[in-house]
């Protein structure tokens, strides 16, 4: 009986959540609730963990302070809103995740297989937190940046697999419409989805960067996922980031459903 009441209550709550509509408002409410009950947010805990990792010495004896995230060694303020960008030292376009891996391997001396994904995410949370309140400033100055942008745009509009899926098919054609719990975000336009990641997802207790989010888009629709740190993910990222240039980062890491 009790169980039935519980289930009934849960259904009612889910119903209320849906009726409330705006998922961003709901996320804010959940955040308040969590803050009141535990006194600290998961995002804060992960940022703190990232900071600790940032100051940890690698096999080379160096911390990540010896790494250049684009604005000079040790500078973190505002670096994340300028990523992805081309780096002269690697001759590649890198996003926040990729640059962290580069720094851990090239500067700190870790072997690629020693780089843990959870550590990269925590570091991304910490570094991104230093760009809260700033505007996206991704630019297309180098040929490599422009080529990846063009590839990202094509990938965004592609139709593939047995379900004919494609990003634009939902995130352009059906913005605001709902399939499942949430309505489709206008990722290239008013929702500025690029500014929502990295984020903590309270609905399933996950810490994700945009890399994880893109992989989930494919995976949720039964499409093979692009590998982490791969070029297609990077291409989609630079396309979306550039489309969202000028958008202000409300809070990094974000707190989402």
């Amino acid at each position: 009986m009790r169980k039935a009441v519980g289930v009934g209550l849960a259904v009612l709550l889910v119903g209320l959540g849906l009726a409330q509509g705006d998922p961003r408002e709901e996320a804010k409410r959940q955040k308040e609730l969590l803050l009141q009950t535990s006194g600290v947010l998961p995002t804060e805990l992960i940022v703190a963990q990232g900071e600790e990792l940032f100051r940890r010495k690698g096999p080379s004896g160096k911390t990540l302070e010896a790494c250049d995230f684009g604005l000079g060694k040790g500078v973190l303020e505002g670096v994340a809103v300028r990523l992805p960008r081309y780096f002269l030292d690697t001759g590649k376009v890198e996003d926040l995740d990729g640059r962290i891996v580069t720094c851990m391997t090239r500067v700190q001396g870790y072997k690629p297989e020693e780089v843990k994904r959870s550590e990269v995410v925590a570091l991304a949370f910490y570094i991104a937190s230093k760009s809260t309140g700033k505007a996206i400033q991704v630019r297309l100055l180098f040929p490599e940046e422009r080529e990846l942008y063009a590839l990202g745009e094509k990938l965004f509009w592609a139709r593939s697999g047995p379900r004919d899926i494609g990003c634009a098919t939902c995130h352009v054609s059906y913005v605001g419409k709902r399939a499942g719990v949430l309505s489709y975000a206008d990722v290239l336009g008013k929702d500025s989805s690029w500014t929502h990641w990295p984020a903590y997802r309270y609905s399933n207790d996950q810490a994700w960067t945009m890399q994880d989010r893109i992989r989930a888009c494919y995976g949720n629709l039964g499409h093979p996922q692009p590998a982490l740190y791969s070029v297609p993910i990077l291409a989609l990222e630079i396309f979306m980031a550039y489309q969202n240039r000028g958008a202000q980062v409300e809070e990094w890491p974000a707190f989402v459903r």
């Binding site: 592609a158 139709r159 494609g166 399939a179 499942g180 996922q225 791969s230």
Partner: protein, 190 residues
Amino acid sequence: MRKVALVPLALALAFAFAQRYFSEEELKRIQTGGKAYAEVLANPRPDQALCALHRNRLPGDLLPKFLEEQRALIKYPTSGRLMGDWKRGGAIFNNLQKANCFSCHFGSPVHLGGDVGPSLEKYGLKRGQSEVVQRYTYEVIYNSWAYFPCSVMYRFGAQGLLTPEEIADVVAYLLDPESDFNTRPAVGSK
């Protein structure tokens, strides 16, 4: 003479490349995404490439041929019956892993529906069960692109996601006046 013979060949090659959505250089980059991912993206069907190229809005002059090709993909149950077993159809309609119809369409008495597609609430009661309605419903589910080119709706039959018999079951679920879909209220209905 030789030169003349080369012209059609060059044209054919140009056409073959024009049909490709990604360049060779781009495909190499896509390969870093892994084998399974790259294989799917490297081998789009010509109709998928066409939709992508035109950003899901085909120019009018391409439509007649496109629609004709999509229609040609539609196959029917060997029994010839377009309405199967509505109970089996309901299990397909309401299964997230199977057809997942409810996620986009409102009207299911089992799950709250979405609004990406049109509402199908009491579909059979509103449309009746005439041969024309059965055929239209079957064909849209079998190959949505034969009616709505480049639509987001899965091409269940044309892409092999459901068999003709399974699609006939879903048609019955939507149309049969005895079906739960038509006798029970849709979740979320006012």
